[in-house]
Symmetry: C5
Subunit: 257 residues, 5 copies
């Protein structure tokens, strides 16, 4: 898991707990019905909103986003430039074996198609369609968390309304008003905290990761096109380097020279 996420969760939750402890104790803020209304309502609404497979799939998506390290664009460029050199020297067929050892399925498929002598137009077509599909799948994944970020505060408010209505309908002992209202407000707090510390930031991270991953795929498509057209490897490298930031480029150059 990337360190920022851990720091983020620890900091966010830590400061909220610290704030609670300043003027009370944690037990005041633990209320099972509130947990069930916010949690159950949010999950219920999400299950109506999205197919079960997609909702379960998010678990894997999130795990990937937070645990797997993003591939480095420099690494992929190196691989692609290496392939371009090999293809120029020994012919494109010589890439067949090297492609077998690739971890990235997307790149492997592309190289495979190029080795098979498929027409460039057609390779680009297939790979772009696949890219669109990946983008759509990512969009759905982030969308599920965005939806949860909207439903959680709504059910927080519904829970608070339920608590207030119950309290107001049977208001006989004034001394119970304070604690009853406190309990009612806890549900709103749960909804707001879940949305702003969990669902919305995760949705944001997924969108960010998706943009990075799609860039890498785009790089792969460009690279395969360059390899197949027999571009000079230096020119291919130039084209591919344009996809990454100057600072990243420098880092890479230093580490390879």
């Amino acid at each position: 898991m990337d360190i920022a996420t851990i720091i983020g969760f620890v900091a966010g939750i830590g400061f909220v707990i610290f704030g609670i402890l300043q003027g009370g104790n944690l037990l005041t803020f633990w209320n099972v019905p509130s947990v069930l209304i916010v949690g159950g309502g949010t999950i219920g609404a999400t299950l109506i909103n999205y197919p079960l497979a997609e909702v379960l799939g998010t678990i894997k998506v999130v795990k990937n986003a937070f645990l797997h390290k993003e591939e480095s664009p420099n690494g992929i460029i190196q691989t692609l430039v290496g392939f371009a050199e090999t293809a120029r020297r020994e012919g494109i067929l010589s890439l067949e074996q090297q492609a077998q050892s690739l971890e990235d399925d997307f790149l492997k498929t592309g190289i495979g198609l190029a080795v098979d002598g498929t027409e460039p137009e057609y390779i680009k077509d297939i790979m772009t369609t696949e890219l669109d599909y990946i983008e759509e799948r990512h969009r759905v994944g982030a969308g599920i968390f965005d939806s949860m970020g909207l439903y959680a505060p709504a059910f927080g408010m519904i829970g608070t309304l339920i608590g207030l209505i119950n309290m107001l309908a049977t208001m006989d002992d004034p001394s119970t008003i304070g604690p009853s209202m406190a309990v009612a407000l806890i549900t709103t707090m749960y909804g707001a905290a879940l949305a702003n510390l969990v669902f919305l930031p995760i949705a944001g991270k997924l969108k960010h990761r998706s943009a990075g991953e799609l860039l890498l795929k785009q790089l792969c498509i460009e690279g395969i096109m360059a390899i197949q057209s027999g571009d000079n490897p230096r020119i291919a490298e130039g084209k591919l380097k344009a996809f990454i930031s100057p600072s990243e480029r420098k880092t890479e150059t230093e580490s390879t020279e």
Copy 2:
């Protein structure tokens, strides 16, 4: 009905009822005028906003979205690849009979046009126009539920304001303030619950289903183009597979080999 939807509704409504029972009883939360203001106002605003035919049409749209099983992309790809093989072996005219037994009207029309020897450009034109039309119809369907998801909380608030104004205008017996406010707040809760447990999640599901259905239609168009151009069925399959996720592809391969 897909299982997630049932679980979703049961969970969402169940946890809300559970929350209510923690501190009161369900009867406190049943208030006919509130039902009428939120329900009547939302339906009224929706009928002004959309033509009657569209509003009635949503009933069918929702039924379809929740009851009909989505066609599997793999099934359609199999059908299209089968057609491509037949067309290559026996000529495109041999598809005439097979097309008759198709359930999907969209695909049937397309194959029919191809069999009639219509120009590819023209087939694509007609089918794309029809696709646009279907997309627009879906957009309106989801839009009706999105609108209801906006109107319901608004009328919930209007109902609460009416209750508060009535209470404040005739505030003679302080002991009635609590119960009156409770009743007033129920309307807000109705609006929020309707929007977040019914209208918005259904709108979300419709949008999601629409994206899936449009992908299938796109697949059909690509497939018909490939059949008519006499593509090698293997190449056609490759093109079409790019539309679906690698995991779905694997599943299909296993089941057919």
Copy 3:
């Protein structure tokens, strides 16, 4: 006026009034200053936001949207296919007289240009520009109502703030607090009711009607192109039918056979 709109207004207003009568009487909810703040403020802000001519023009736009019956796509397709047949049989010049009796100015202009032998490219150019213009005019019309739907609740809140400030600044007799707050809240209710029962649903209906009207115009352009190119009327019909839903198509076929 289409029946849904009448039902919508009657239902929406009826249920709100019913809700009021449950716990009070209508007179409590009639407050001239509130009417003036919400109504005057909303109209004032709208007049700053849009030119006078546009604001006055909306009256006509709304009248059209609610009173005039939408032309049926089937009717226009029939007309265009009929024209295509005449043009094929007797030459395009024979359309000159028939075009005179058309009610739709847009279609009349287009047929006129075709009869004059104007180049297709140029006809399409002119008609598309006109279509863009119509779309923009519709967009402004719906935009005015959307703006009013935003300003009305804002002035409702401003009115309530004014009422509260006046009440709080001179709070000497506690028994007047309730009625004063009731009056203050009425303004918020006016703003919310106006926005959600009048302005926003009308804006929605205008957008919906606009989409329908633009589709018909698009149909006309396609039809004129087909007539001028001397397309087989059957093929022209096929192209145009793709613009409408299968169910609408069936209806039409039944009625003409």
Copy 4:
């Protein structure tokens, strides 16, 4: 200044003042610290958000939008058709002098380029780039007011919070609570009134004017293209008329015949 704007400001402010006078007096609503928090905060945030030159530039933009009369599309069409006639009769060089007397810099530049015999492709390029630039500048102008429309209510709320916190922190004499809360709420009212009577409507008017102005520029580009290509002036007029509404066209025809 167009009459609608004056009516709008007078009506909006008038009705708000009228509402105030119904239940209190204007002095209650005058509070210098509130003015400073809302006004100073909004201006401060806007100055951080936009460069100083842009913020100062809005003064000119607003003055133009409200004082300068919009040019009439019909007038420009007449001018362009007249130029097309002259160019056809006496050659394009004969436009040199006429162009000198044009007020519109954009049109003057375009005619100048055409007279110089610049290639059409290149003229279109330059003029479209300039159009994009104008659009961007307009977008920034309206954006500044939209931002102010967001910041003003935010600082209104901040001011009210400050007032409430001060009041609550030193709550010793209950009789001061009412007046203190009244003062606190004034800031919120200022923010809401400024946003909804000044900033947002002006932003709306600027966007509307921009759309109109850009349409005129588009007309100019089309017209210059037609002049240079030596189009028949009647055909040029037809093309340009498509840009304006049928009703405006009729008006113009009447006034010129």
Copy 5:
């Protein structure tokens, strides 16, 4: 730092402090737990939402946006026109040395490619890809501040809820209610002030700067294309001038004549 930003911060913070001092003292508004909940929560959520490198990178982005002076479009146009003249007179190779002294890496790379005799199509490709990359990086930078502008008020509300719940749960001495609520509300005020005086205006400035910087880069691409195609320097200047406002053009002409 540009003067508007300093004025903006001083004015915004100054008027808020002034407002505070009108009815209380600054110490009332200093509350460490509130600072920690809003600050810690916002930073925590942002770290989950974005990778650590991006979050740290914003510090540099902001420093650049506020400290570095924007290059003037006129200066770049002068440079490019000068290059075009040199290239026409002495051949494009003569630019090699001049390009070395350029500060702008983007322009330097482009000129370098042109000097190397790279094909125009390819130069445009590389530079446009790089432009897209820069745009994306800017978008992320502004997005981080927009996210902080959303999280800060949310954690302000969470902090206030925590304060209220603590207060209500242990409400024994009524005289402490006022001060406790005051402390609870401070957190909301922190969130609103941070969002509207810091995060949102900075996000706005970054977006504005980005638009300006991208325009300059676009100018560079156009200029290099013109230089390489051997355009007449006067024509090149005309093309490039269309990118900047007439008023800026005049200023430049005056200063160079």
